[in-house]
């Protein structure tokens, strides 16, 4: 399968610190991939390089075979690369409906219209309402985003990213900080994403990782330690070494993950 997102020898230095070290990575269309690694492994830096928030020191990023290394974030987004953020990045003064209407309008090239009011395009509005319905946000679609409970905001963070029907979606810790009672809802939403959308999940929570991912990349000190299927990763001695002493060790003993560490 052709890679929809690819990097070649990607490097990022911050002063003397190497945050991303020679990462070569390929994501096939429709992938369910997880990016894991201990704190400070460079996961978020890598995601920022992919999405265009940061420019690499050297190396190349390809989106659908096109070199997008020098493209700004908004151009990559228009080309089908969407992401969520570890810390919610929402429009606090908007309603969820306005948020999604804007995202869809932008994706369809309608966001430069300037004479008719927002909401007059019936196609955009009904697509937005449908999406909010699917993500269980329909009942709060007219509320102020800033006043929504955190779990709902987290769902909206996903909704805004998938509104453009991207080819690639980077999910940066989608369930981070969500109370236990609302986690399942987020996991269900992630599980229900369209199969043709390639997903990259950046996650600390091994339970979530092993439920979701068909393949994994383990980052350590900015570089790729190992790549493989969940079973291979769990049984890899180097991965065990890295995670020993980490709080997340217990996650590795998930029964359906096929291996035990403890």
């Amino acid at each position: 399968m052709a890679a929809v997102l690819e990097t070649k020898a990607l490097h990022k230095n911050f002063g003397g610190l190497t945050a991303t070290n020679n990462v070569t990575f390929a994501l096939p269309a429709g992938a369910r991939h997880a990016l894991i690694g201990p704190n400070g492994a460079g996961k978020t830096t890598f995601v920022n390089l992919l999405s265009g928030v940061l420019t690499p020191t050297s190396g190349t990023v390809y989106l659908d075979g096109t070199d997008v290394t020098r493209w700004p974030a908004h151009r990559r987004a228009d080309a089908g690369l969407a992401r969520t953020f570890q810390i919610n990045q929402l429009f606090a003064d908007f309603t969820p409906l306005e948020t999604i209407v804007l995202a869809i309008s932008q994706a369809k090239g309608l966001a430069t219209r300037f004479l008719r009011p927002v909401g007059t395009d019936a196609g955009v509005v009904s697509a937005a309402a449908d999406l909010l319905q699917r993500l269980t946000l329909a009942d709060v679609m007219h509320a102020r985003v800033g006043s929504l409970p955190y779990g709902k905001q987290r769902l909206l963070e996903i909704a805004i990213a998938i509104a453009s029907e991207p080819k690639v979606l980077l999910l940066d810790e989608p369930a981070a900080g969500v109370p236990e009672s609302e986690r399942e809802q987020i996991l269900d939403v992630v599980a229900a994403l369209p199969g043709e959308m390639a997903l990259v999940l950046i996650e600390h929570d091994m339970d979530l990782v092993f439920r979701f991912a068909k393949s994994l990349t383990v980052l350590v000190n900015g570089g790729v330690l190992v790549e493989g299927s969940p079973g291979e990763i769990v049984n890899d001695p180097r991965v065990r070494q890295v995670y020993l002493g980490e709080l997340h060790v217990e996650g590795f003993s998930q029964p359906h993950a096929g291996g035990a560490l403890g």
């Binding site: 908004h74 953020f85 003064d93 309008s105 309608l110 300037f114 004479l115 927002v118 909401g119 007219h142």
Partner: protein
């Protein structure tokens, strides 16, 4: 805004209608414009004051577009105001041809184009950096333009001001009379048309994307909004609006003084937007009325303490009513709405 319960009912039925309803005209809006028109008959002796208010409101409106809806802090809107004033002033003074080419409306167009062009060029300076950087850059540009106005006295008249500005009759029909009747009607009409455009813009998808940039630039970029391009466009529009306001001033007062380029002008206009309510459009209008009315009353009663009262009002407003006058009125209306629905 409707009450929450009513909103929810509309919501499930037709979310689009709920969005469009936000752009619908409300009765206080009609009231304000009808009042502005009624003033023609109510207070014929104060046309000149009303004219000043209308012009100030247009300048404030230009700041609200840039600051209130797009989040660009500016202390330099006076530069565009002044450029517009000098452009229209020079066009009227030296005259270009005869009617229809000498019409004041073409002066407005010329002023809008010149100010818009300079706004476009300087917009690239305000794209980067924090609020403080933008404040300093816009102020710096304004200072440069002001000093140019002073030094190029063979064009601008320098400190003596631009004399002999004689605009042709409006549409070849209406002379600018000494009472300011034509002036007020003219400025009010221009303000109204540009206000309608601004109102349509902020309620449109374009306006939504500008508010998105103001609200969260990281997310705006992540959904594909070309942030820089949008900011260039709105800053240019804002500059053109300010330029047209300056042109109105030059044509209706038939004089341009260096004061139009002064820091005080930019600062006053910014103050007016804050007074009235940032990001509301009507804040610019109501703020101008309040500012001028306050000035009219207080400065004639105790001219030496004008700054004192202005300062006091500013401190009180920022401490107790962050949303300005419009914010206060909205809060009041919401409270009444809630009281009414509680009784029902």
């Amino acid at each position: 805004m409707t009450s929450l319960a009513a909103g929810a009912r509309v919501a499930t039925a037709d979310p689009g209608a709920h969005l469009v309803a936000k752009a619908r005209w409300r009765w206080p809006e009609f009231l304000l414009w009808l009042f502005a028109i009624a003033l023609i008959w109510l207070a014929p002796s104060r046309y000149l004051l009303f004219n000043e208010i209308a012009i100030l409101a247009l300048l404030a409106l230009s700041i609200d577009l840039v600051l209130g809806f797009s989040g660009i802090v500016t202390l330099g809107q006076g530069a565009f105001y002044g450029l517009g004033a000098y452009t229209a002033g020079l066009m009227a003074k030296h005259g270009i041809g005869t009617f229809p080419w000498s019409d004041p409306l073409l002066g407005l167009l010329g002023a809008g184009l010149v100010a818009g062009f300079v706004g476009f060029l300087s917009s690239f300076l305000v794209l980067r950096g924090s609020d403080l950087t933008r404040l300093m850059v816009t102020l710096g540009v304004a200072l440069i333009v002001q000093e140019l106005g002073n030094k190029l006295d063979w064009i601008t008249g320098g400190a003596d001001g631009l004399q002999g500005v004689m605009p042709a009759p409006l549409l070849g029909l209406f002379d600018f009379d000494i009472f300011g009747r034509t002036a007020y009607l003219y400025s009010l009409s221009v303000l109204f048309v540009l206000f309608l455009l601004a109102r349509a813009l902020v309620n449109s998808p374009s306006g939504l994307s500008l508010r998105a940039i103001k609200g969260n630039v990281i997310r705006a970029r992540a959904i594909g909004i070309p942030v820089e391009r949008r900011l260039v466009v709105i800053y240019t529009i804002g500059a053109a609006y300010a330029g047209i306001a300056g042109a109105l001033l030059a044509q209706t007062t038939q004089f341009v003084s260096l004061d139009v380029l002064s820091f005080e002008k930019s600062a006053d206009a910014l103050l007016i937007v804050v007074f009235g309510g940032v990001g509301t459009l009507y804040g610019a209008l109501v703020g101008s009325i309040a500012f001028k009315a306050m000035y009219d009353v207080l400065a004639s009663a105790t001219p030496e303490y004008w700054s004192f009262w202005l300062g006091l009002a500013l401190v009180l407003l920022v401490l107790f009513a962050r949303g300005g006058i419009i914010g206060l009125l909205t809060a009041l209306r919401d409270r009444l709405d809630r009281a009414r629905s509680a009784r029902a």
